[in-house]
């Protein structure tokens, strides 16, 4: 088996067109012969031995090289035998892999390394994992070779390629091989042109870096194809970058939407300036934290599902606090928006301080359920799953809210009261109750936003404050009293922010956006989707 494998390797090598490799064809030697090279403890012999052992394909090769790296490879100068000392202390015979019977022979010394050898060891270990049984490890090894472009790994790579069945791993190995050939001065021109093609198909940043860093003394054909490949990759990357920005923008937009949509109800529909809106978001986040802590102590196995409980709990807690605020303070201030603003600001201070007293000023840890953690690669786009689920959640909340306003009796009453309070009252609608419920609904939705934000932001007493100005800008930008305006406002502000960021930096981008919105409000004081006709005059 061993020899047939070596045979295949040799044939492959030959078919590659006599690519010059350092040293004699290592595979031809047997593993035991190669091992003996370590016994000399001379750096040049050790180097040859590393290459030979790594190329032998012997099952013990990885263990031996690993031991060499850690200084656990021992040799006996007298009988030129090689031993491996396990981290546990037992000493194995490197040739057989069995523990040495009885006492370890005296006079064992470890094989010395220098920096150059350490690099060889790393490269050898990299190529050895190319044959690992798990595809993920093979993939990682191939990618490591692509990055290191170590010519010594070529032989191992060829061998691994011949046996590889996994399509993705195979592709990575082909790319790694192309990378090596491309940087190998002795490779043939045609091979190199072909290698450029392989790397061009990879079309990512690493490929761009590899092609951009090629030496200047390449044959003109290779240089030309490389230049073409670079332009193609750049175009490809630019496209994906746009998509990535769009994704970030959508993600930020969905967060803004969640934070602003409750405000669109309380401010947009009811006309109440609720400066404590951010604190409703914070209450939602802390509810999530509390629910999770309770689950952690009572039912640790169900921790992943704590969000399912946190969502209604956050809605209820924030909603009830909202109703209490409306009944306790705001109902006396209708028609006095500036005073409402001050009073609710006071409430926000009290709520913040209350939470700080109860939970402490430090950030609280809210763990992310397993289905929400991780990243999925879609082409050149890295999709973080928690962001993805927040976008979905924001969409659901928005749709649900539209549904409530459109199809339920409560929604009907809300619209009636905001459109014509007296007439609604004459139709036996309890307007005070509807006011309280509407405010509760808006606050409850802010609580839902808190559940989502607890997954991506720090849960601290200041959580809400960082969103309040943004939320107001979204509602004002989108047009007061119009939920669709809020949706468009949130998404466009989110996307605009993320597209400005790469040019202006995060802070300047934000400032630019604030200035733009301020200018926009000058131009259209009632927002993107202003109400028209009588509603404005009401």
């Amino acid at each position: 088996m061993r020899t047939s494998y070596a045979h295949v390797m040799a044939v492959l090598l030959w078919s590659l067109g006599g690519l010059a490799l350092a040293g004699p064809p290592a595979m031809a030697q047997s593993y035991e012969q190669a091992l003996a090279g370590f016994a000399a403890d001379a750096f040049s012999d050790t180097d040859a031995a590393i290459t030979a052992v790594a190329g032998s394909g012997h099952p013990l090769a990885a263990k031996v090289i690993g031991a060499l790296q850690d200084g656990r490879l021992l040799f006996n100068a007298d009988d030129r035998k090689i031993y491996v000392r396990e981290p546990s202390g037992t000493v194995l015979d490197a040739a057989t892999g069995r523990p040495v019977a009885g006492e370890a022979p005296p006079g064992l010394k470890s094989v010395r390394l220098n920096n150059r050898l350490r690099r060889s060891v790393e490269a050898a270990l990299g190529s050895l994992t190319l044959l690992a049984p798990e595809p993920s490890r093979r993939l990682a090894a191939a990618q490591a070779v692509f990055k290191s472009r170590d010519a010594n790994a070529l032989a191992a790579l060829e061998g691994a390629l011949a046996r590889e069945t996994d399509v993705r791993v195979r592709k990575a190995m082909l790319e790694a091989r192309a990378a090596i050939i491309l940087t190998q001065p002795s490779a043939r021109e045609a091979d190199r042109v072909q290698a450029v093609g392989v790397i061009r198909d990879r079309s990512d940043r690493d490929a761009r870096a590899l092609l951009g860093g090629l030496p200047a003394d390449l044959p003109p054909t290779v240089q030309r194809t490389a230049a073409e490949a670079i332009t193609a990759i750049d175009r490809h990357l630019a496209r994906w970058e746009m998509v990535q920005h769009l994704w970030y923008g959508l993600s930020l937009g969905s967060v803004l939407l969640l934070a602003a949509i409750g405000l669109a109800i309380t401010f947009g529909v009811m006309g109440v300036i609720n400066m404590a809106h951010g604190e409703m978001v914070m209450l939602g986040a802390y509810t999530t934290f509390v629910v999770q802590e309770i689950m952690r102590t009572t039912a640790p196995g169900l921790l992943d599902y704590s969000l399912a409980i946190a969502i209604p709990a956050a809605f209820l807690s924030a909603g009830l606090v909202g109703i209490a605020i409306e009944r306790g303070v705001i109902q006396f201030l209708y028609g006095r928006p500036l005073e409402t603003l001050l009073a609710t600001w006071g409430i926000s201070l009290i709520l913040q301080q209350a939470v700080r007293t109860l939970f402490g000023a430090n950030n609280r840890e809210v763990s992310t359920p397993s289905f929400m953690s991780g990243v999925v690669e879609l082409g050149g786009l890295a999709v973080t799953l928690n962001r993805f689920w927040i976008i979905v959640f924001a969409g659901l909340v928005f749709a649900l809210l539209l549904g409530v306003l459109r199809y339920t009796t409560l929604g009907l009453h809300m619209r009636a009261v905001t459109q014509n309070r007296r007439m609604a009252s004459a139709m036996a609608i309890n307007t005070g109750r509807i006011d309280a419920l509407t405010f509760g609904l808006g606050s409850g939705i802010a609580g839902l936003a808190g559940v989502a934000l607890s997954q991506i932001d720090n849960v601290s007493p200041n959580l809400g404050q960082s969103y309040i100005i943004d939320s107001f800008l979204v509602v004002v930008f989108g047009g007061v009293g119009n939920l669709w305006g809020t949706l468009v406002g949130a998404l466009s502000l989110g996307v605009a922010n993320k597209f400005l960021e790469p040019y202006a930096g995060a802070v300047l981008g934000k400032i630019a956006l604030l200035v733009l919105v301020i200018l926009f409000i000058q131009k259209r004081p009632r927002g993107l989707f202003a109400l028209k006709g009588r509603a404005v005059e009401a």
Partner: protein, 410 residues
Amino acid sequence: MITRRFLEAPDRRGWIFLALLAAAAIIVPALNLFVPSTSPLHVSTTTVALWGKYLCFALLALSLDLAWGYCGILSLGHGAFFALGGYAMGMYLMRQIGPRGVYAHPVLPDFMMFLNWKELPWYWYGFNHFPYAAVMILAVPGILAFVFGWFAFRSRVTGVYLSIITQALTFALMLGFFRNDFGFGGNNGLTDFKDILGFNVQSTGTRAALFSISALALGLGYLVAQAVVRSKAGKVLIAVRDAESRTRFLGYRVEHYKTFVFTLSACMAGVAGALYVPQVGIINPSEFAPANSIEVVIWVAVGGRGTLIGAALGAILVNYAKTQFTIGMLAPYWLFALGALFVLVTLFLPRGVLGLLPRPEPTGVPCSTSGPPAPKLRSAAGSPPVQPGGGEHASVSRPGAAAAQPVLAK
């Protein structure tokens, strides 16, 4: 002529206020400088600095009251003008440090050396001259307010919308000033001052003088504000506050009046900031924090808006309470107290502390015959462009309220 106008303006309360200020400006420094520290009458330097700070806050509150109390412009960004004035003063003080900084560079302030800057940015030129800095203290906040106000008022951004964009303005400035490459010391701001006009900033004499100057500035600010609100233009301002559309229909260029009073108010805030900085010894971007600006509003509300004196009084009261709270065991409860103050004052004390006193004579404050207190803010809700939903509430929500504002129910 102008002097006469200024001096005729204050009412009896105004004279009491001015007399108190003058007394404080003379007596407090005297008690600090000339009474030995063993005497019970001695006023410590810390107290002088603290009350000097309160006086600056009072001037800031006064400036906000001019805009909010008399013209209905609720600026949630007045702290920005205060901080800009403070930065202008801070830049002068930084240039005065000269080669005494840690890096001993004759021109560049320490933070620029630290950032490895080679030369002074152009906007720092001239700040080594006090007259130039003094002009900038008025000009920078003034020009910003003028440009901002001109755009905002021309397109009739009113009421709550204006409040929110002023808040966004100060938020944007805060983000900007936090950046090192803005050239204003970034996060740390400007500090480590040495001299002002050749006097040591730290010395007792300078501190006492700064206290007197602050009292003087507050008195002067009061006289200017009083002269404005008593003038014919002041009557128009009050008309704008109470019924903006009606004033416009009567042929007044509402936006001109608003821009004027907003700019004047910003200049006063800038002066307050400039006097504040040498007394506390530091100016940093947190002065731009939106929360600070909202706090100014509550000072005015506590004292009584539309009274000028009340605003100054409110600033001193609230800040005195804040100091008492935050130095003692009660520190964690200060925010509870402040929050409760916001709620209670708006609910139960709409005319502030001064509103509790009997009115000496009718002045520019709107007549309160039309029902519940603080009717002036109705104008914001009632003017058409404000907000559809709120307007609805304003006009018909409570039968009592609706009856109380016949102007707006139409």
